[in-house]
Symmetry: D2
Subunit: 342 residues, 4 copies
Amino acid sequence: MKYSFLNDYAEGAHPTILQKLSTTNRIQQVGYGQDFYSLEAANLIKEKLENPAAKIFFISGGTQANLLIISSLLLPHEAVISAESGHIAEHEAGAIEATGHKVLTAPTKDGKLQPEQLRPVLEQYSMRPHVVKPRLVYISNASELGTIYTKNELRQLYRFCQENNLLLFMDGARLGVALTASTNDLTFPDLAHYTDVFYIGGTKNGALLGEAVVFNKPELCKYFDYQVKQKGALLAKGRLLGIQFLTLFQTDLFFELAQHANDLAQKIARELENLGFPFLLNSPTNQIFPILSKTQIEKLHQQYSFLEWKQVDAQNTAIRLVTSWATQQSDIDRFIEAVKNL
Amino acid sequence: MKYSFLNDYAEGAHPTILQKLSTTNRIQQVGYGQDFYSLEAANLIKEKLENPAAKIFFISGGTQANLLIISSLLLPHEAVISAESGHIAEHEAGAIEATGHKVLTAPTKDGKLQPEQLRPVLEQYSMRPHVVKPRLVYISNASELGTIYTKNELRQLYRFCQENNLLLFMDGARLGVALTASTNDLTFPDLAHYTDVFYIGGTKNGALLGEAVVFNKPELCKYFDYQVKQKGALLAKGRLLGIQFLTLFQTDLFFELAQHANDLAQKIARELENLGFPFLLNSPTNQIFPILSKTQIEKLHQQYSFLEWKQVDAQNTAIRLVTSWATQQSDIDRFIEAVKNL
Amino acid sequence: MKYSFLNDYAEGAHPTILQKLSTTNRIQQVGYGQDFYSLEAANLIKEKLENPAAKIFFISGGTQANLLIISSLLLPHEAVISAESGHIAEHEAGAIEATGHKVLTAPTKDGKLQPEQLRPVLEQYSMRPHVVKPRLVYISNASELGTIYTKNELRQLYRFCQENNLLLFMDGARLGVALTASTNDLTFPDLAHYTDVFYIGGTKNGALLGEAVVFNKPELCKYFDYQVKQKGALLAKGRLLGIQFLTLFQTDLFFELAQHANDLAQKIARELENLGFPFLLNSPTNQIFPILSKTQIEKLHQQYSFLEWKQVDAQNTAIRLVTSWATQQSDIDRFIEAVKNL
Amino acid sequence: MKYSFLNDYAEGAHPTILQKLSTTNRIQQVGYGQDFYSLEAANLIKEKLENPAAKIFFISGGTQANLLIISSLLLPHEAVISAESGHIAEHEAGAIEATGHKVLTAPTKDGKLQPEQLRPVLEQYSMRPHVVKPRLVYISNASELGTIYTKNELRQLYRFCQENNLLLFMDGARLGVALTASTNDLTFPDLAHYTDVFYIGGTKNGALLGEAVVFNKPELCKYFDYQVKQKGALLAKGRLLGIQFLTLFQTDLFFELAQHANDLAQKIARELENLGFPFLLNSPTNQIFPILSKTQIEKLHQQYSFLEWKQVDAQNTAIRLVTSWATQQSDIDRFIEAVKNL
């Protein structure tokens, strides 16, 4: 069996989570997310966010969170703006359009949106009522390319949004690795100040499943509960999500798992750099994109699973390596050895 | 803390399931439902169903399964027919209509649809193109009232559907308790012969979450995978669903848990009958509907949680008591004692 | 060729309208409803309505108006309540559900909704978030059965709506015949006081096509223009609608045409009563529902087209006769003669 | 009052159409498009198209036709491909997305799609089930830039579509001017061979409103009638559309009107060329895009309405001039004079 660096969801859950599921298993709870664990987890997150007004909803997965948040915030004629590389723009099988909304896109070099990329979109979509009205900006942190937003970038983006009557939504499927990256200067409470809504990814950071959607302003989610039910996202045993987020946040487990994933990916990156491999871009999180020759890739593929991300030239391709809470030091030692033997 | 007879999803999962989650936890698997456990569970179910052509999809919950199945089988002008008491007709926050389809309803006395209730609907909805076209019949087994379909009833209903170009879909959120009821004469393989699509409820029968959707005819689900993704129902860690259904079906655990729930509910029913309590209707599964006086209900409510289902007259109300895999003999002994003390 | 009493849209337009189309034909106008005629017609209607704050939109047809109004006023989890006989409930091919909203229905004896029929619907749909939230009440005046609302009925209904956070929408496809019925006591300005939104039917009252949608409160249609465009209802040559409504409202033509239709229908009704024919119900507008024997119907059908509305008993059926602006005295004279000869 | 070259829908209808509306006005007809005129017009079009199997539907406008055709041909996970400049991609307020479908776009230099622009889209959207499936190609002829497809281009595009399981849909809002352009070599019957569905624009070519949708293969529109009703596009007085298309096609009026518009636009173009004005691109139809200086534009705008289409450099802008059936020789003489006087 090949070892996989394909993604951060190849294993189950962190053992502490499984253990908590066991110890709480027999305790009767009310359903549909009103259980003790969900309420407690929501309280913990609000506390760590330093925003008691925030509203929290636990959702099973990222596409589900994205479509629920976006469709609940937009009126029928309104649209969302995403980077061309944004997950909602291409990789969700038209999930946003299926809710009736256009996804407007802007090209970026590193997966991150800035005001200068938003301006031309706003200009192009202004001839009422013949064009959709941009109303929401979708960003992901860490981005699909592993890059992260600095505090200054996020602050400026949020100011631009507020000046232009746009809401700002951060897809945090990879939030853990963003906030624990070595170059990160965003704090968890910053997210309450510089986004309108975001979510905290559990699936890619040690949970069996689950994303915690955080509305920083309660007026933005007045009827979100209805949407969660109507779109089939309300679990009868909501405790399953609550228990996991309670486990992740009642200690620093959420951040420790992400830190671990980052550390191991960056170790690989440093070793490959030392070996002279170039990179597609500089990413400080658990996804790295070294460039290898086709022959090297072929050999590595005999022992390892990973994605061929983008052909760079006739001979070379950037691959994607992803680590997770479950990756072990010995896994990456063996991998580095394999690379050295190429 | 009051003991709850409110529903069959108040606890976590059967311990065997939790254990299997632990023992498989570190094994790397591909994502999105293509993992070993999901494939193996699907094979097992097809085998027990004696229908190798069947296609199986694991979905997180009942509303999600209902909306995915119904919207994927209907063209935009087509409608589904449900009993007025059907879950999709009232209790899913308009989930079916949110996918663009009308839910036509027919009144029933016991929650079960028969050809004679379908005929007037077909007559009423025939003036093309001014009315929707009925195309799918939705039934639930066990029904929302705890009743079950006999083999003869299901066979006749299916024949009627085929004669009238209607598909037949069985919501099996409560399938376990239906197939293990003392009055049941339907076998598991019968479902492959007398329905077009059905699902096997895990959430209400010992799983943390999960419904196994079974298309008996592969041509009915040619693009169902796209729908699962587009509607946000595709779990990255699909193994979570696969492992649970594998555990439930590699032994007879699925049926044993349902049998257990039925046995305990029927024990309560017999005791209450002996004590002279009338019932709203005769249900052979894990939901029973005894009629109590308002005073009796008030007293019981001090110790027990349960639903007041329907006011029968000025003094009396039918309550709903639900047992599950997690209910223990001692729980019902105490409850019967409490009733005797009223 | 049989003479048709099938409906009120069997002919073209009132000649004055055709003439106005000709005399304005060469005058260049801006498109999309911003032409002089549309603006002028809107002003006239607001003036006659004595509501300068009203907002007017001209739409091609009734189903289009219904779906635009309803879907633009409802949030995704909200539902509309209609009489079971309401046009949106059955005869629009699921147009409302296709916009994602459930149509809740209440039975009525005469096609008119009253508070007592709304109360049980509100009670049934209250368990948030598991059921849709009723938000809009749909009535039609004249109703699908030719009946009309009295001022008192409408006032009480509107008060009930306001007390229960419900909007009131009057489908006025047949508004002309309602307001000119002999038993009517509603004035045109009353509609501004006792509804939130209504429309004025042109198609059934002398226009080639067109319904004038009137929002009595501008805050209810802040983005309606976007919806009109997005749903394909914005005509490039909006003048076509504006010119027609200008013609209908710059004199009393709109009311005269409706009065004419009512008068002729009521003449037939009185003659049939004198001949001893019973009626399904008493309707004061241009639709009447006399009950004839099957043999009589068969004979009449040799010379006349009309709808068999409802079988009353084994021998007798209520038919529907509809007159319009285009029906002539000689047409009904001949018809009455034919009935006498049965 | 300024003379307008803004668009081809500034006036009413060609007088022959108005006359025909008058002469047929009193004749009773059945509703909803089943009238004599609609059936006769459909037969005429099928005859001229030399495709007796074709199915014709008369629709009020272009956005409505586009959204009905596209949404009726696509399954929920399928997408349409359009040129970036395609009307559906930007200028229909998200009408296609509002039906649930993603619009994929490809850049073009002249508004026309060729196989080489489609190939990369097909490659990018292939990872089932994570991305939408391209299923329909949308082209417009004449395009939004006034350009037209040659027979060879259309044939190659259609072959590419067939080889790649794509349907080909031609938006013919401007079909008349395309087929009568001096450089055109497509015949009307060619459209039956090299498209799956197209429509014939009436609104921009002398009708009050109306587009004739032609499905070349009847199996593609089995339930289109339901969609027309459900989306609010079925006119009670369908005769209004039938009479207009009958008038346009029972003689060569449709083609004569378009020829007239082309001739006048090309006369302006030749004169401007002679005067030394450059053009944004070479378009052989009724839309031309000469480049003028800002000062010149400002002066012309005192007497004429037209669109500033695209800024070419700091000093110069391409404007759009549009002629129609209603433009007269004297109108363009005066305009050319005005340009000479700049």
